[in-house]
């Protein structure tokens, strides 16, 4: 007999899904109780870190004129995750692009707004080229002081969790589900998989094609993260007739058109997978291969062609592959 909890809801402008298998530890709440608890956690996470809510902790931080601002542990972790993601490749995934996002037309949540046609957007898009970090690298001036509970940044620099928030949230919930045999946390397509049971019975994770909606590939995941970044959901047409999307080239401050419309990354955590998938998409086909080679991934070109990169051996994330000690 097996009991599983499968809960789905909307949060962070995306579909969130949590699958929880049987309790591993005696005394752990039932999967149903845990599912409701984790839903509350995700909604609280989203409420406190949304840049679209004027009273969120993130919005309060971004409005604060001081350079050192008191911040909750959650906000400090979020800022630290943003700095970590930026450090991987010199600021290619930059958490200080709030102004550029707003200039591109992403001032409010696009929840409920149907996306524009990606095919039309691609026809009118400029010459494809890889994105690059911003030369000023303002993100390097962000810092977190846990001892005093403050976040420091130059006045006027606003922080955005867009590049790392969902992955961080998925990892956080996964960490909280350690008392269960196996689980999947899906925050808008950024997934964290874990539990000792998943080592014996890995999850099948399907990778969806951004244009056709078909399953490109199914990977078995025993532990770690899988994340996808793409242009198809958050693409819109501005009043000037130009198309835009939410993945910004830090160097230009405008939406990046790199020759890729989607990238999926595998990694040891959802946060890293989300960061790698964004990096891959921002770098375009040539750079993506280098980014995704280590843990594996998939890229989708403008014309819909699919390329698998790296070894995606099944199952992924086994602690003792082939029975050998890791």
């Amino acid at each position: 007999m097996s009991e599983t909890q499968d809960i789905s809801f909307r949060s962070m402008g995306s579909d969130v899904r949590i699958l929880i298998d049987t309790p591993l530890l005696p005394g752990a709440p039932s999967p149903g109780v845990a599912g409701a608890r984790e839903r509350d956690y995700v909604e609280d996470f989203a409420r406190r870190l949304s840049r679209f809510r004027p009273q969120s902790e993130l919005s309060v931080l971004n409005r604060d004129p001081r350079t050192r601002v008191p911040a909750s542990p959650l906000l400090r972790v979020a800022v630290r995750a943003g700095i970590w993601a930026a450090q991987i490749r010199g600021g290619l995934v930059d958490p200080t692009l709030t102004g550029a996002l707003e200039s591109a037309g992403y001032e409010q949540s696009r929840e409920g707004s149907p996306p524009a046609s990606l095919e039309q957007a691609l026809l009118g898009a400029p010459v494809r080229r890889p994105a690059r970090p911003h030369p000023e690298q303002l993100w390097r001036r962000l810092s977190v002081d846990d001892r005093n509970g403050v976040v420091s940044r130059p006045g006027g620099v606003r922080f955005d969790t867009g590049g790392t928030g969902k992955g961080l949230c998925a990892d956080s919930v996964a960490h909280r589900l350690g008392a269960y045999t196996r689980f999947v946390v899906d925050c808008g397509g950024d997934l964290a998989v874990g539990g000792v049971g998943a080592q014996l019975e890995p999850y099948d994770i399907e990778i969806e094609h951004p244009l056709t909606g078909e399953t490109i590939r199914t990977v078995q995941v025993a532990a770690g993260g899988v994340a996808t970044s793409g242009l198809n959901v958050r693409v819109w047409r501005n009043r000037d007739g130009n198309f835009a999307h939410h993945l910004i080239d830090p160097a230009t401050g405008r939406p990046a058109w790199t020759g890729l419309i989607g990238a999926t990354a595998l990694a040891p955590s959802a946060l890293e997978a989300e960061t790698l998938s964004k990096m891959a998409l921002l770098l375009g086909p040539l750079g993506a291969r280098g980014v995704l080679r280590r843990h594996g991934g998939v890229v989708i070109y403008d014309d819909g062609d699919v390329e698998e990169i790296g070894l995606m051996e099944n199952p992924i994330g086994l602690l003792h592959p082939s029975g050998r000690a890791a």
């Binding site: 994770i205 399907e206 899988v226 996808t228």
Partner: protein
């Protein structure tokens, strides 16, 4: 003095004919048994006439699905909760759709 006729060669001929008779008898007995066995086995290999025995494979599944759909607006948006309790005599079943990674 009359020369004695040795009896040994005659005995040898008689003994030789007995051995041949025994050998022939054994061979015929063996062939007879073989023929009997063959006649017994032949119908067993014939699949055209004998009706095949029906084989029943039974798998017992016991599944209880409780689904609750919360209408939009009751908790800040639509949601669904599915709890599956499944039992099987053969393999554990996991009936929920596979998680999907997609751009969001």
């Amino acid at each position: 003095m009359a020369e004695q006729v040795p009896a040994k060669p005659a005995r040898r001929a008689k003994v030789g004919s007995d051995r041949v008779a025994v050998a022939l008898f054994s061979l015929s007995a063996f062939l007879l048994v073989l023929a009997l066995l063959g006649s017994q086995l032949a119908p067993a290999h014939s699949t055209t006439s004998a009706p095949s025995k029906p084989v029943l494979i039974r798998r017992v599944y016991r599944t209880t699905v409780v689904e609750r759909i919360v209408p939009p607006g009751s908790r800040g948006g639509g949601s669904s909760v599915t709890q599956s309790v499944s039992g099987s005599s053969s393999t554990p079943s996991f009936t929920t759709p596979a998680p999907v990674t997609r751009s969001s």
